[in-house]
């Protein structure tokens, strides 16, 4: 009884996901071949589950697309599951993957700590686990593929300081409190900005990686700190909200640096309203993660950390990323 | 008979104010062992405040309470319990989803090592039931019992904590004749066991039957203490403060053409093949036991519920089934059984409540005619003598009789020609009852028709021109006002019950 319910649940879940995946691809011109491959890539025989924290964010969609491309190239099947930013959902999804007996699992944790419990059944089933973008804390996975967020934070500080001429006041828009991305980027930025004694961080407030909140919080902070000349946002979405709050002042009086290098973020850099974004390379992350997973399936030894380069994107090199 | 020197419970000169309002002043009451003390008074006379003092809900501001001749303070319901006082409220305090045994032992469930001791629990419960001679399955869910049995279970529960003083707050309000008889048997047993009781009832005829002494309250003050054998008109005079010449002042106008015509109405499990007609100027009474299908029939005629077959017509025009709005437009007005849950929006104002049926018809386009509604609410509250300070005050703050008049007022405004009255005077004071009867007279004098369902037989007999008796969802007999008596109606009502009762 119970197992039947669970199986039918898993089946319907898979159905919904298949629907979502094809539908998503419909909106994306470049992914036509990807959609075809989702159903047909069984030749290599390997099945890899990619558990994404959320597909509500373009970054992870690009990551998924990169992974899909790599899987297609290798003839492997990639099953994508979306936890919708819910750690419990992700835990269930990984449990399902373990039961299903896939060949490898790539996890993009919703929450680094909670992920430890989630990957346990997978590792217990001797299925290799690759963490991507965010680490799994408290459990050793086969490899962690991530951008160096701390280094990225430092790079952001340098880019912002350069635009500000090495002096002035800065506000920071923080991501969701408690996430490792927010922690690492914030930490890197603080370390980086400390090298510029004439720059002062006057306020740090959360806008939860959300554009609308970025707009509201930046508006409010600019009210209480009218003389600010620099804004660092821990992701591009919040940075774009800050640009909205600044209006014409963006890029002229006040300099904004974002993080992630999303489509809209890169566009803002190209337009000159945003000074820089720290581009992670989501497609690269996805691609490397799949490559690592395939290596793990073949029994190869993997490095514990597989860093993927982050790049400071400014007006000078933005064309390379668009 | 055990009659000690001191009464079990004595209240001397107690008074209570709520803010600026005096709810009770200088009231005496004594309850003796083996006696039933009846508390009589209209709504708002202070009966419930007095009961709440005894039950430990309110403490008196003035005066004193003595138990066995010793002054005590009852500051909480727990205090009251420890003095051996148990109260059966109108709203039952039972958990419908728990079994009889669990309910009786609730709050003191016997346990062993933290687990429920089922055997101990059943033993306790059985003893409690035996004490009042009630036989009911201990494992049955209380919610599946009828109201009367639930009440008896509640009494058993109250007495199982060794109560010597039992307060019964309108215990008969929701019971049928046979159920009341069952309750009175228990009360008589308890009297023989020396339990002192306070009994509150609106039914004057019950007083002589069950009471020993009557304490009459009016406007929060003590009026008199008289023997229970006092004749009814005298009791009414004491209670209302004036004499009421006629309890049922029915005036019969000449009858006109048929206004309400019901043909072959059937609804499976509720009523079957009911045909009746009511003429202009006529009041037709619907009598029958609880469950005979009176309420169901009225609801179907009004459009509140659906039915399977048959027709309803007003003034020759057929009323579509299950469509209240259409019925209202054709002149039907339904005063439902329970005004609080079905008739009124208690938190809304009087003007809103009288206006619901006419909100749409008086509107200008999508706009409600609020000024007109207020004007009409003023008119109708004067016309029906609804006692209020302001038509904007919430209906909740009115007394039961005035609340009921608000429901009548809604149909007066809607110009309803046919009134379907379901227990129109339930929970209403004697004085206000007479006023509601006068409203019925006014409707028929203006050429309206009334279908009156009531479980108070004297009311049906006193106010109807013709009486239809229902049993088991069918009309089993028809009597004219002149030939109908309590006995003739009851013998019809119980005749077919055993064979045809539908549930």
């Amino acid at each position: 009884m119970n197992s039947i319910t669970r199986r039918s649940l898993a089946l319907s879940l898979a159905g919904v996901l298949a629907l979502a995946t094809t539908a998503c691809n419909r909106g994306d011109d470049a992914a036509d071949d990807g959609a075809g491959a989702t159903s047909g890539g069984g030749e290599g025989g390997q099945t890899i589950t990619l558990a994404v924290s959320t597909l509500n964010n373009p970054f992870f969609i690009t990551l998924r697309d990169g992974a899909q491309e790599a899987a297609d190239a290798a003839g492997a099947t990639l099953e994508v599951v979306d936890a919708q930013n819910d750690a419990a959902t992700q835990q269930n999804q990984l449990a399902n993957a373990a039961t299903q007996g896939v060949d490898a699992v790539i996890i993009n944790p919703v929450d680094s700590e909670a992920a430890a419990a989630a990957v346990t059944p997978v590792l217990d089933g001797d299925i290799p686990v690759i963490a991507v973008d965010r680490s799994v804390e408290g459990k050793d996975v086969n490899s962690t593929v991530s951008s160096d967020n701390v280094a990225g934070g430092k790079q952001a500080a340098e880019a912002l300081a350069e635009a500000m001429g090495g002096k002035g006041k800065v506000i920071v828009l923080q991501g969701v409190a408690g996430t490792s991305a927010s922690r690492d980027r914030g930490k890197g930025f603080e370390e980086g900005i400390a090298a510029f004694p004439d720059i002062e961080v006057v306020a740090m407030q959360p806008a939860n990686f959300d554009r609308a909140q970025g707009l509201d919080v930046a508006t409010n902070l600019l009210e209480s700190n009218a003389d600010v000349t620099g804004i660092f946002a821990e992701n591009d979405e919040m940075a774009l909200g800050a640009l909205q709050a600044l209006g014409d002042r963006a890029g002229q009086d006040v300099f904004v640096v974002g993080f992630d290098g999303t489509e809209d973020g890169l566009k803002a850099v190209a337009d000159g309203t945003m000074v820089a974004t720290i581009a992670q390379q989501p497609a690269e992350l996805g691609k490397v993660a799949v490559e690592q997973a395939l290596k793990a399936i073949n029994g190869e030894e993997l490095p514990a950390q597989q860093p993927v380069e982050v790049v400071t994107v400014t007006e000078d090199n933005v064309a390379d990323f668009q | 008979m055990t009659t000690s020197e001191h009464p079990l419970l004595q209240l001397k000169g107690v008074g209570k104010r709520f803010g600026g309002v005096v709810a009770l002043r200088d009231v005496d009451l004594s309850v003796r062992a083996g006696q039933v003390q009846v508390l009589l008074g209209e709504n708002g006379a202070g009966k419930s405040t007095l009961v709440k003092m005894i039950a430990g809900v309110h403490e008196p501001d003035t005066g004193s309470i003595e138990i066995d001749g010793r002054p005590v303070r009852i500051t909480s319901t727990r205090d009251a319990e420890s003095h051996g006082i148990a109260t059966i409220h109108q709203e039952l305090n039972l958990v419908p989803t728990l079994s009889v045994a669990e309910n009786i032992t609730l709050g003191r469930t016997p346990s062993r090592l933290g687990l429920v001791d089922r055997r101990g629990m059943r033993k306790l419960a059985q003893e409690a039931l035996d004490r009042i001679g009630l036989s009911v399955d201990l494992d049955r869910k209380v919610g599946t019992l009828g109201i009367a049995r639930q009440q008896l279970v509640e009494i058993a529960k109250a007495l199982s904590v060794d109560a010597r003083i039992l307060i019964l707050d309108e215990p008969t309000a929701a019971l049928t004749r046979t159920e009341i008889a069952q309750l009175f048997t228990v009360v008589n047993q308890l009297r023989d066991h020396g339990v002192g009781m306070v009994f509150i009832s609106h039914h004057l005829d019950e007083i002589a039957e069950i009471g020993d002494t009557v304490t009459v309250l009016r406007d929060g003050a003590f009026v008199d203490e008289v023997p229970a054998s006092t004749p009814e008109p005298e009791l009414i005079r004491l209670m209302v403060g004036r004499s009421i010449e006629q309890l049922f002042p029915r005036r019969r106008p000449d009858l006109g053409e048929v206004l309400l015509q019901v043909k072959g109405l059937s609804s499976e499990g509720r009523f079957d093949d009911v045909s009746l007609q009511v003429r202009r100027g006529e009041v037709v009474g619907l009598a029958g036991l609880v469950g005979a299908g009176r309420t169901e029939l009225l609801r179907a005629i009004s459009g509140a519920d659906n039915y399977d077959s048959g027709t309803v017509a007003v003034g020759g025009r057929q009323v579509p089934r299950h469509d209240v709005a259409a019925g209202v437009a054709l002149g039907l007005g339904h005063v439902p059984e329970d005004r609080k849950t079905q008739g009124l929006v208690l938190g809304a104002s009087v003007e809103d409540n009288v206006g619901y049926a006419t909100l749409r018809s008086h509107a200008r386009g999508p706009l409600a005619d609020l000024a007109g509604q207020r004007r009409r609410a003023h008119q109708v509250s004067e016309q029906l003598r609804i006692r209020l300070n302001d038509v904007r005050q919430p209906v909740r703050s009115l007394s039961g009789g005035n609340q009921q008049k608000v429901v009548f007022g809604r149909w007066t405004l809607a110009g309803s020609q046919v009134l379907l009255l379901d227990e129109p005077t339930r929970g209403v004071d004697v004085g206000a009852k007479v006023e509601i009867y006068e409203l019925i007279n006014a409707v028929t004098e203006a050429g309206g028709a009334v279908l009156l369902a009531s479980s108070e037989l004297p009311e049906v007999l006193g106010m109807s021109d013709r009486i239809l008796v229902m049993a088991g969802g069918r009309i089993v007999g028809e009597l004219t006002a002149d030939e109908a008596t309590q006995d003739s109606v009851m013998s019809l009502a119980v005749k077919e019950v055993e064979s045809t009762r539908v549930h």
């Binding site: 979502a20 209480s224 | 619901y356 007394s399």
Partner: protein, 324 residues
């Protein structure tokens, strides 16, 4: 005559009683004043014209959602889907424009999508007999899912006609103007129309309303459709401010909207609630969020403070009702 008592209130009222009555009718306003004064004392930046306009703009989306929610709560329902429906409306508008349709069409179509989503919840509640909590919980998920399907998870850029909603007219931000218009409409509909007055009856006692001949089912369906329409308009304002429709926009806004309505003095058991109270409730939330930013309160504490303020505001209201 009979001796029935009516109400303890005396006709002649002292000024103190009148003040008490005013406070009891406008408890939320008192709350707002308290919060504003507290913020003013805490930071001089608060009480400036620009900042107050900021607060107004930041209150707008939640306020519009909450006006729609007011109808639902007055009718004793709940609508958990408004945040998702707002996002769906905005993304749909973006998609329509992305198909080459004119921007004005998108501006009209977005709210209509909201209306349709709300109507579905309403039909499920009124005729499908689902509790509104369940029907709208389902819609919360369905609408969010459709938002992702339509957008492919990517932000949709907005045409000028919609971005205009984020601009200013004669120095006044358009979101504030939209909020005021929606406020006036809501107050008018609730107070003056047959529809509005009927809702109080349906919410206060559905059975009594039905037996009075009110079309309870139609009213119920209409209430949710209206809430959906308001959510659609809120979604357009949100997208207009950002010049972009975010698929993950307005997550959790339904709870803010419910909080605003309840802070405004409505009862979740129905039959009570006013547009004025709701507006004030939305402003209370916006003032607190704004003030916490101005005071640079740590991110960890902000959620604690907001939760406490909601509990406090509603708690005071309950207490006040009990004593009055």
């Amino acid at each position: 005559m009979s001796t029935e008592t009516t109400t303890p209130a005396k006709p002649a009222r002292t000024s103190r009683q009148r003040l008490g009555q005013f406070l009891s009718d406008n408890g939320a306003l008192v709350g707002l004043v308290v919060v504003v004064v507290a913020m003013f004392i805490a930071t001089p930046d608060f009480l400036t014209t620009t900042n107050l306009l900021n607060v107004g703009v930041q209150a707008a989306v939640v306020a519009i959602l909450a006006f729609g929610m007011t109808y639902v709560i007055v009718a004793a329902g709940i609508d958990l889907s408004v945040g998702s429906v707002a996002a769906l409306s905005a993304v749909s508008a973006g998609w329509i424009v992305g198909q080459g349709m004119p921007g004005a069409l998108g501006l009209v179509a977005g709210p209509l999508v909201g209306l349709l989503a709300g109507l579905l919840s309403g039909l499920a509640t009124a005729y499908g007999k689902l509790p509104s909590f369940i029907a709208t919980l389902a819609m919360l998920s369905v609408a969010r899912g459709l938002t992702l399907v339509i957008s492919g998870g990517r932000p949709q850029s907005m045409p000028d006609e919609i971005s205009w909603l984020g601009s200013r007219v004669l120095g006044v931000p358009v979101p504030i103007l939209v909020t005021l218009v929606m406020f006036a409409i809501t107050a008018f509909v609730l107070n003056r129309t047959v529809f509005g007055r009927s809702l109080y009856a349906v919410g206060g006692n559905e059975e009594a309303a039905r037996l009075s001949g009110l079309a309870v089912k139609k009213l119920t369906a209409a209430v949710f459709a209206l809430s959906g329409l308001y959510a659609g308009i809120a979604g357009m304002v949100l997208a207009g401010r950002l010049s972009s429709a975010q698929p993950q926009a307005a997550v959790g806004y339904e709870l803010d909207a419910i909080a605003a309505v309840v802070i405004g003095g409505a009862s979740l058991s129905g039959g009570q609630g006013r547009a004025t109270g709701t507006l004030i409730g939305a402003l209370v939330l916006a003032v607190i969020r704004n003030g916490l930013n101005l005071l640079n309160v740590s991110s960890f504490w902000q959620q604690v403070v907001i939760g406490l303020v909601i509990a406090l505001a509603v708690g005071i209201d309950v207490l006040r009702r009990k004593t009055s």
